[in-house]
């Protein structure tokens, strides 16, 4: 149990908050991708910066730039401290339930990233919880490049031009595609062949990333490998700096930092702050 008086206590009594000195200790996970020498590395406060940071960690070279850089939703949770705020900044419909409690958060006038069309959220097939986030621009350029010169190029271009800006959902229904957007059945088949849509069940499709199969394979393998690194450690816990300093095993292609963000955000490891830095520990349950 945490013995320190929780920070809500002075807030409850309306005392003046002591000015926080900030993290002087340079957190290796946060600073890895920042090349400018800074004395303190703050966690990005907003979801957009979090997605941008993960996109920086994504190994583009591995996929020969054919895949848009994908960040997972759990990685955004690891960078943005409050999950409800992260959800609201990503997706539109999180509404404030108690104005008093949430008054310090983002005002309701700021539109969510998905609502603005800046990011697309995609359901990655291996887990109901795992959703991939990427910038719409990246997605659009990569898909156009992938379908260049192929027979389905026309259908894909029509899809990107009409459907993507209009509908921000993860999946599309039959009547939506045929009536609202005017796609015929052969065109939809071409979209599935192109990899832009994946069949969900009769009459509905998920939005998909062409060529994402390799990414998902590397991701699942890498996640299992990093988790087993923590599991094999003595007492099933590892200092974060030590984990990042180790050589990545062969099955981890996407980078240790990428996977660690995902594990922390998905709560597959507990993050304990100690005097020697952050400790990753497997939960007992």
């Amino acid at each position: 149990m945490s013995r320190k008086r929780h920070r809500l206590v002075p807030e409850t009594f309306g005392l003046k908050r002591r000015r926080e000195l900030g993290d002087v200790e340079a957190d290796p996970l946060r600073c890895e991708s920042v090349h400018v020498a800074v004395t303190r590395c703050l966690r990005p406060g907003s979801a957009r910066e979090a997605v941008a940071e993960i996109v920086r960690l994504f190994p583009r070279v591995l996929f020969e730039d054919a895949l848009p850089p994908i960040a997972l939703r759990s990685q955004v949770y690891s960078l943005v401290p409050d999950r409800t705020v992260a959800d609201r900044q990503l997706v539109r419909s999180v509404r404030a339930t108690n104005g008093k409690a949430l008054s310090c958060f983002v005002g309701t006038s700021e539109k969510a990233l998905q609502e603005q069309g800046e990011i697309r959220i995609v359901q990655l097939g291996f887990d109901l919880d795992a959703q991939g986030i990427m910038f719409t621009e990246d997605y659009r350029t990569r898909v156009l490049k992938a379908c260049d010169g192929r027979p389905y190029a026309a259908a894909v271009q029509k899809f990107l031009a009409s459907v993507l800006p209009a509908c921000g959902d993860l999946s599309f229904q039959q009547d939506q595609m045929t009536q609202t957007f005017g796609f015929r059945d052969p065109e939809i088949t071409q979209l599935v062949k192109a990899g832009v849509l994946t069949v969900r069940d009769a009459g509905s499709w998920w939005l998909a990333v062409p060529g994402a199969g390799r990414f998902i394979k590397y991701f699942v393998k890498g996640r299992r490998a990093v988790l087993s690194m923590v599991r094999k450690a003595k007492y099933r816990e590892l200092l974060l700096s030590e984990l990042l300093g180790r050589r990545a095993p062969a099955s981890v292609q996407l980078g240790l930092a990428y996977h660690v963000h995902d594990l922390i955000g998905a709560q597959l490891v507990d993050c304990v702050s100690t005097t020697s830095g952050t400790l990753l520990r497997l939960p007992e349950t």
Partner: protein, 368 residues
């Protein structure tokens, strides 16, 4: 705190503000209490606890061996170290004791003269506290998982019973028979709860991943089925119209009855607006839950930001309800925690928690 007191004295502050601030401070300072203990009567695990709502002095506990014990929580000795004594118990030698494990006990909401208990032996028994005799028995066809009686009802005495069958039964204490059945679920009902705001609104949670809100006066079916995606079809079709991606294990209304919390075996807890059934999408993170039957959790009342206490493995996790932030994990039990109840009377704020499998019968967690 002193500033608050002097402001209250001078009339600059509303008295309610001081009360709320102090309640919140006490909840934030909850810790395992070394001075108080509860007498161990149960030989096996304790499944359920209930503190009477009138005075907050007596507590009932129901165990896996069918034993029901009544404790007096008040410390009338002058010592700081105190063990809550059992006043009386329905032991194995009692002629009317439950045959199998007692799943839920509840005090009669208006006084302590009566309490109800339901058990895996397919009965709901109504007991007279003073004589410890059975006043009435309701028999069912399936094992009973949970029952609840409305704390605010004045016009009816209905007890909602959730059993292994898909129908919710409503038993009337005045007439002694089951008055009606609510149909709509497809698998066993793991938790039922009446709204603390409206006396006819009932919430039920079932193993078919659905949670429903009912108005018991309405004949044609449930009012709302809680949908985690709020009607958007963009998620997987098998999770359409479901509250969770697994069984829905526990239900708790907030103390004002405006919101409803549900926990499910998909390790999630969700907060719903109880008037329109909308998922408020507050994200609590992973709330570990592998209980095969119901999970009983509780909320605080009277604090400035309300807290929910959920059994999480062998600890109790404390979250703020409306922002989803995890405050702390209360450690004290050695094995899985099954149930916790909260009371904030006397000079202390106390959270009692109980275990299901054979370890300490109860550990008392109290603020000082």
């Amino acid at each position: 705190m002193l500033g608050f007191l002097s402001a209250r004295q001078a009339g600059l502050e509303d008295p309610l503000r001081l009360r709320r601030a102090e309640s919140t401070r006490r909840v934030l300072g909850l810790e395992l209490n070394k001075d108080r203990d509860v007498e161990r009567i149960h030989c096996s695990g304790v499944n359920t606890l209930d503190i009477e709502p009138v005075e907050g002095r007596y507590m009932l506990s129901g165990g896996s061996d069918g034993v029901i014990v009544l404790y007096d929580l008040e410390n009338s000795s002058r010592q700081p170290y105190y063990t809550c004594k059992a006043v009386c118990s329905v032991g194995r030698s009692h002629p009317d004791v439950h045959k199998y494990s007692v799943e839920t006990v509840q005090w009669y909401p208006h006084d302590t003269g009566m309490f109800t208990s339901s058990s895996f032996d397919k009965t709901l028994k109504v007991w007279d506290t003073n004589t410890l005799q059975i006043a009435d028995v309701f028999n069912f066809e399936e094992t009973v998982y949970s029952h609840h009686m409305s704390p605010v009802a004045t016009k009816h005495c209905l007890v909602a019973v959730g059993t292994r069958g898909p129908k919710v039964q409503l038993c009337d204490l005045k007439s002694g028979s089951c008055s009606h059945i609510l149909q709509g679920h497809r698998q066993e009902i793991l938790a039922v709860s009446w709204s603390p705001r409206y006396e006819y609104i009932l919430a039920t949670a079932s193993a078919d991943s659905r949670a429903k809100l009912w108005d018991v006066r309405r004949a044609s079916g449930c009012l709302i089925t809680l949908d985690q995606h709020n009607g958007k079809k963009s998620q997987a079709v098998e999770s359409a119209n479901t509250a969770h991606n697994g069984k829905v294990n526990g239900l708790c209304f907030t103390s004002d009855g405006l919101h409803l919390l549900t926990v499910g075996t998909d390790n999630r807890m969700r907060l719903w607006n109880s008037s329109n059934g909308e998922n408020t999408l507050v994200n609590y993170g992973k709330v570990y839950n592998d209980s095969r039957k119901g999970l009983k959790f509780t909320v605080s009342s009277g604090c400035s930001s309300e807290f929910v206490f959920v059994p999480y493995g062998s600890t109790i996790a404390v979250y703020t309800i409306y922002s989803g932030e995890q405050i702390t994990m209360l450690k004290g039990h050695y094995k899985t925690v099954d149930c916790c109840v909260f009371q904030s009377n006397f000079q202390n704020t106390e959270l009692f928690s109980s275990r299901a499998i054979r370890d300490k019968a109860k550990i008392l967690i109290q603020v000082f």
